[in-house]
Symmetry: C2
Amino acid sequence: MERVAYFNNAATTFPKPEEVYSFTDKFYRKSGVNGGRGQNTSANKLTQETRELLLEMFHCPAKKVVFTPSATEAINIILQGIPMADNYNVYVSPFEHNAVMRVLNHLRGLYKLNIITLSVAEKGLCYDIEKIKYQFGENKPNLVIISHASNMCGVVAPINDICTMSHSYGAINVIDMCQTAGLINTDLSSDIYDFAVFAGHKTLYATFGIAGFICSGNIKPKPLIFGGAGIDSANPEVPDTVPERYEVGSQNTMAIAGLYAALNWIKERNIESIYLKEKDNLNKLLNILSLYENIKIITPADRVERVGIVSCTFNGYSSDNIGQILSEHGIEVRSGLHCAPFAHKFLGTFPAGTIRFSVGFFNTEDDFAMLRQALDYIYENS
Amino acid sequence: MERVAYFNNAATTFPKPEEVYSFTDKFYRKSGVNGGRGQNTSANKLTQETRELLLEMFHCPAKKVVFTPSATEAINIILQGIPMADNYNVYVSPFEHNAVMRVLNHLRGLYKLNIITLSVAEKGLCYDIEKIKYQFGENKPNLVIISHASNMCGVVAPINDICTMSHSYGAINVIDMCQTAGLINTDLSSDIYDFAVFAGHKTLYATFGIAGFICSGNIKPKPLIFGGAGIDSANPEVPDTVPERYEVGSQNTMAIAGLYAALNWIKERNIESIYLKEKDNLNKLLNILSLYENIKIITPADRVERVGIVSCTFNGYSSDNIGQILSEHGIEVRSGLHCAPFAHKFLGTFPAGTIRFSVGFFNTEDDFAMLRQALDYIYENS
């Protein structure tokens, strides 16, 4: 089938704004030289302006942006690099991705870590702040890692409440904003947010190849990757300064060009209007899914904030089966565990997994009509 | 000045073939979804075909391609992940980049390593195979790392001779092909080549964001970065299989599209004709530079194979000064240490550094005419 209705925006947003495609191509054709590895300034200027746009978006002009090729790498740099010791209490949300859990699993081979799940009510999927307060009192947090929004069920965590508490215990707070950066207007200026990770190709509507984290620069993780930084070449060690300490190897200025265009696209529309559009598409999706009695939706309570990600199961079918049938009808979703087995265990959908539908800014009425046709077909044949 | 004559191809080749720009844009607009994170197959198919094109280029269909975001990261994965122990003898070429030397510096903090420079005659810059044979006899090699071509002076290492010897001692051989992949026709099918690193954006004429290494898969470095691989999600560890073990996080299919187009572009022309064109441009460059008595060129002996990279110094000027003047005349070069202080120490140009001119396939007569004008200006004003 030629035409595809794309409901896999949590994996990567698609399509991108026209400005992202055209500016990336134009900039790279004209200025695709090596920023920091010659006298060329347009690539360096673009990189600097892109950092400033990110800090403006997150209302934290005094913080620093570290670029990495992927959010997975950003999380690895942070978690493998920050101080760690035996008997540390590491809190995670019940919705963590393998980009976090597999790093923690590795670190557990090096340290005796006490990994604790932040309390979330199984019914309604609501973070229980009172219980979390009690958890922190019982086991003082050393490190807290929270998916700002779950990549499986879209639930948004009350990061301000949780990080304020954990910060008062001196914990390091790491927020994974892969599903919220550029979508939920978030003020990161407070020092309760030690590290906030973003992925360019997801809710920021940029391309693959650029991600990173925002930090104060006060806590400096040990470097994970060593190499040339284009400055201070005579030093046998990587530079001590942030972000240069972590940005070794050639900078991906093509992807930065796309991020620059995407950030301007978001800024022009303003972030709230993009979120409203996604919520509108989420409601359309939920209205359609709720028409079918063979579909069981994982539904947070009404008071729980959520982004446009919905997981569900289909009576009598495995998620892989449904994924295949939807694909044959031109519906692009993700089926299975979405690299988040920990979250599925919490939700009781492990190991079968779910079908995940995720909307974006660009979903159209045609997409929803195609989805209805495909779901009709499954319903009639089940 | 608008028009730029680009002599910084060793930092990144520029421009790219038209096919690379246009295919990248077209593919990403049409199929910019998340390969391995949905049912979409065009991105996965492209990735697979790109691996096959690389293995075909290097005449090693039975080997494996691991993609990484940068060559620096590939080198880090290899060197930080392979078995290492106190008193290991680690041989490096005298031309190593900080992507190697800074990793070794880090490893020296963990192990007592004996880092030995492969013997190269200072006059003529010729690898001395007899002396290297003697070196290996005196201190059995455990690990050998060689820049296939120096990013500073273009000297090509006789990798077959050296790796055959070191392999007979059971050493692990790592070849850095950043300045030769796609330029020098190299057969990597032999098991003397344990790891060969490539950078898409350099001599392969692809874009930033894609690099990697070619290996047999028999020696499996410990993973450096942990995260979701899109398969085997329920496993708390990264998969054991190569390449999945190292390819965590979303694959950069946009950059892979560019690499795919670039590999086809090279294949259509055939690799030898591209090298001939670069050699032709190198000769033009050398002929021009040799006209000026104020320029001292670092010159390998006639019998030494070299790629299109030339380092030189200008009497009475610092390299940064000359870089600035050339830039004002629209000549893009790289000045300083080129992230290779170790190489400069060997060549006696540390810490002042050099001016590095590097040609590529796309240099034009206009570029050389502009270069002459700029060098005339410097000569007349010095």
